[in-house]
Point group: C2
Chain length 134, copies 2
DNA sequence: CCGCATCCGTTCGGATACTG
DNA sequence: CAGTATCCGAACGGATGCGG
């Protein structure tokens, strides 16, 4: 029985996939910053010079669950984009701020934001026109 | 029975969320271009001046399923970023190419790509260092 | 050749409860 | 205050088969 044919084809497909991916270094980073909350956290931290406490971030990004906020902060910390500083008082205080790397990422991200603000109406118009046609 | 308390709280949370989102126009666009395949399709179409056939795109982006490719192309078409041209022959031929809007989006996307290529090693180093510590 | 419909496993993300 | 652990529905995404 050729029970492996499906997985073999899948693996071959995956190999081609990886090959293409390897040639596109930006993909992994895009996957990171494309995350639903990363941009918001980056923007929030970028606005305040000396960082924000966990609770301040939580208030500023109302609508995000602690789970997602913590998850996002951990990922950013892991990638060296934000710095986490724990003050061992009672109660505990934790501050987050952008690293130099994080601030440098903010530049292209803001350019993207500028594009969005400049062309948003065109996109929305195109979308409505498309939906109107069916 | 206060069966609505949970949904009420969710709705309130959502309202605050939307309020924050309204102040950040880039979010909707980011959600669009952050899509797993959008950037690749954009890049592929950006490289060839006169567009690509569906099957050519499919080969270039080996690893993407037809479902995802079609889904992505529809979304991009809807937003006015790519143009779809059907040649009613037998068999059917369909060409896709970037619109002016799509080409303009390519600019900030490429800057982001440039950032990624410039800082990828730093990110990977930070990641390894983080994982080594625990 | 192009693309839609369906099925199905995997992942995402929110709510909740609990710890130091 | 700042998390961690768990549960669970919703959405994502791939494989396959059919239709124009």
């Amino acid at each position: 029985m050729a029970t492996t044919s499906a997985s073999q084809r899948a693996e071959q497909s995956r190999r081609e996939f990886d090959a293409f991916m390897a040639g596109c270094a930006s993909r992994q980073l895009l996957d990171r910053i494309a995350d639903k909350w990363v941009t918001l956290v980056l923007a929030a931290l970028g606005e305040s010079e000396d960082g924000l406490r966990y609770s301040e971030l939580s208030r500023r990004l109302a609508g995000v669950s602690q789970k997602m906020l913590t998850q996002t902060l951990r990922a950013l910390e892991r990638d060296g984009l934000v710095a986490r500083e724990v003050t061992a008082s009672v109660p505990v205080r934790v501050d987050y701020q952008l690293t130099a790397l994080g601030r440098s990422l903010l530049v292209p991200v803001m350019q993207l934001k500028a594009w969005a603000e400049a062309h948003m109406t065109e996109v929305l118009a195109a979308r409505e026109a498309y939906d109107a046609r069916g």
